[in-house]
């Protein structure tokens, strides 16, 4: 995150408020890890940590794309189906051939881009509600995927070693997957924060009417957000294949809501205008870590979904209560200083 010297009290205040969410998730993560390690020291083993990061990477990648969309006061529910489609499609693409890894990635991202483009055009050009449109494309893409797969599956044996290596190998002890996610996250995060056009995504979500009057190219930005979300879903699809090797048609089924959960837990306001990709990625990491913790603590893994849901509710409720308290505090402060 941009390190800016805090030169005024107001500055510090604003920054604290903005980062409060990232910090509180981080704190929750640390507490969670500490407690779990105290109970079972094997939790913090190299392999354990690696697994968590591997598992979180794909979700975090999707969360980064989803953040761009949600920040503009929209939503992309089709990501899960895009991951499934691309995972299967790229599996078909590589099966029996020794394809270049880069080529596979490009093909996967292209498919994702097309899906994102369709969503983006429908939402930005025809101004139909994003939830409905992406729900529709979710059905359609999923249907296409299932129809194509028709019960077949991709087996690890068909996938070239170079691709599998991408999903499970590492450089300097750091697995590729989280590396890719971090690079993407930092790039998107930096763009959104440091570039004028990046700020426009926030402006659109914060007040669409004002954005129009300010001459912001709303359609273009929303289209971009969807295409980025699609491309990242495509990338995630290929990484899914690389990581698991075996792919059935319903890969990543239901993930769209998992991604939205991660994003919201990560402090991105569902009504747009507020939040960062870092928070969203942390949200993904937290959700994944909880999953692993349950396994380590031998809690019935069935609790995982329930806890994820409760966490999401807790996150938005706390946010809301804080906001209400801030409003009230501001009102009372006004009282003292006079209106």
């Amino acid at each position: 995150m941009a390190a800016i010297t805090a030169d005024t009290g107001g500055r510090r205040f604003v920054d604290t408020v903005l980062r409060a969410r990232e910090l509180s998730i981080l704190a929750a993560l640390i507490v969670l890890v500490a407690v779990t390690t105290a109970v079972n020291s094997s939790f913090l083993s190299t392999q354990g940590v690696k697994d968590i990061f591997l598992n979180a990477s794909i979700l975090a990648l999707l969360a980064v794309g989803q953040t761009m969309v949600v920040v503009t006061r929209n939503i992309d529910l089709s990501v899960g189906s895009v991951v499934g489609l691309v995972a299967f499609a790229s599996g078909k693409f590589v099966a029996g051939h020794d394809r270049n890894v880069l080529l596979v990635l490009v093909v996967g991202m292209l498919i994702g881009a097309v899906c994102g483009l369709v969503n983006g055009v429908l939402v930005s050009f025809f101004k139909v509600p994003a939830l409905v449109v992406t729900l529709g494309t979710l059905y359609v893409i999923q249907g296409l995927d299932y129809y194509w797969a028709h019960g077949q599956q991709i087996n690890a044996a068909d996938v070239p070693a170079s691709l599998l290596d991408l999903g499970n190998g590492s450089v300097l002890g750091i697995p590729y997957l989280p590396l890719i996610t971090v690079v993407v996250m930092v790039a998107v995060g930096y763009y959104l924060r440091a570039y004028p056009s990046g700020r426009e995504f926030y402006a659109i979500g914060s007040n669409p009417d004002a954005a129009r009057l300010a001459g912001i190219a709303i359609r273009k930005r929303i289209l971009t957000a969807y295409v980025v979300s699609g491309v990242l879903a495509g990338l995630a699809g290929v990484l899914w294949l690389a990581r698991f090797g075996t792919v059935v048609a319903d890969a990543a089924h239901g993930w769209e809501l998992k991604v939205v959960s991660a994003v919201v837990v990560g402090g991105v306001a569902i009504v747009g205008g507020l939040g960062s990709v870092y928070g969203a990625a942390l949200g993904a990491l937290l959700l994944t870590t909880i999953g692993s913790v349950l396994v380590v603590l031998k809690v019935n893994s069935f609790w995982q979904d329930a806890i994820a849901g409760a966490l999401l509710l807790l996150a938005i409720s706390v946010d809301r209560l804080l906001a209400l308290r801030v409003t009230r505090a501001l009102r009372k402060r006004n009282a003292r200083h006079g209106a």
């Binding site: 059905y139 359609v140 999401l312 209560l321």
Partner: protein, 347 residues
């Protein structure tokens, strides 16, 4: 011409008389109803097994849960809210049904119990939305995960079967002398009630006002929060009941029962012409929407079209249902102002 208009009212400023909009007659719910008839006739003439009473009652029975839940969902969407947790409540109640049956409870005890659970689940949604002022989309995405998770906690991946035949019959047999299964008959009854509530009572008027302009509704003395809370509770209650129906109909209680059903419900509500932004819609349209989706699925199944295609058709219908009015508006606008920018009748 309004006969009650004061005679000299228009003397000062000439009244701008817009041509009666054609859209009055080509309303979306009318189109959907027409489409429904076309699909039905097409099915009747094109597919031999379609128009049999066995098949139709099967098709209707298959629609039971979606149809039932679509009723409270319509009220919610008209009031500019949404409940994505309905299928999870259904799943949770189905799981509870199984677990309690396994534990030796009697069915007549189980059903009231799960109905209470449904009410509580709806109450949680409603309180989070009305007390904290959270967007229902976010809240119900959360409770959707939570309730489904609890369903797994209750029953794991087990399936409980073997329910008493008389109850199973209630869920599958038809009302004597008609091709209408009992659950669907109940739907018809509830649909009539809902239609009256929505279109002919003060509550219905309030719902439209809340959906169109919540602040103005509140200023007019409408108890916005209380009404919304009620809607979420009713939605939970109906979903719980649908859970019982689902369990008995399939004779199997599982935690993943009704997975993804919320999307089908919302699809049929929107297909029926209810505006996702609230304030507009008719229950007639929703009923047509529900039936259209049900008949299409049935037809595709009879013609051995892969189930995947059904999902594609549902998705496309959903997109078309929101896209068509948009395109129509754009075309109208383009025709009126060949170079015009945005339509807004500000002074």
């Amino acid at each position: 011409m309004a006969p009650e208009a004061p005679a000299k009212a228009s003397a000062v400023r000439p009244r701008v008389e817009a041509p009666r909009p054609l859209t009055r007659f080509v309303r979306w719910d009318v189109i959907v109803t027409a489409l429904l008839i076309v699909v039905f006739l097409g099915g009747a003439f094109g597919t031999s097994d379609f128009a049999t009473s066995d098949n139709l009652s099967f098709a209707l029975d298959d629609l039971s849960e979606i149809a039932l839940i679509a009723l409270p969902m319509t009220l919610l969407v008209v009031a500019a809210e949404v409940d994505l947790s309905v299928a999870s409540i259904l799943g949770l109640c189905s799981a509870l049904f199984g677990a309690l049956w396994d534990a030796g409870w009697a069915i007549q005890m189980i059903i009231p119990f799960i109905l209470v659970v449904g009410v509580v689940a709806g109450l949680i949604n409603g309180l989070l939305v009305t007390r904290l002022g959270l967007p229902s989309l976010a809240v119900t995405i959360g409770t959707m995960t939570l309730y489904r998770g609890l369903a797994y906690v209750v029953l794991g991946t087990k399936a409980v079967a073997e329910f008493p035949q008389n109850y199973a019959d209630l869920a599958t047999k038809t009302v004597p002398g008609t091709p209408i299964p009992y659950p669907f008959a109940l739907f018809i009854l509830l649909a009539i009630v809902t239609a009256i509530v929505l279109h002919a009572t003060g509550l219905g008027r309030s719902l439209f006002a809340i959906g169109a302009q919540e602040e103005a509704a509140f200023f007019a003395g409408i108890r916005v929060k209380r009404i919304k809370l009620l809607l979420f509770v009713v939605s939970g209650l109906v979903s719980a009941f649908a859970g019982a129906v689902y369990t008995l109909r399939y004779g199997s209680a599982r935690a993943d029962n009704g997975l993804g059903l919320e999307l089908a419900v919302i699809a049929s509500v929107l297909l029926g012409g209810v505006d996702f932004d609230g304030g507009k819609g008719t229950l007639g349209g929703v009923i047509a929407g529900v039936l259209l989706i049900g008949l299409l699925r049935n037809l595709l199944m009879l013609r051995d079209v892969a189930t995947e295609i059904q999902s594609i058709v549902t998705g496309l219908l959903l997109i078309v249902s929101v896209l068509t009015p948009r395109i129509a508006a754009l075309v109208r606008q383009a025709r009126r102002h060949p170079r015009g920018a945005t339509p807004s009748a500000s002074s």
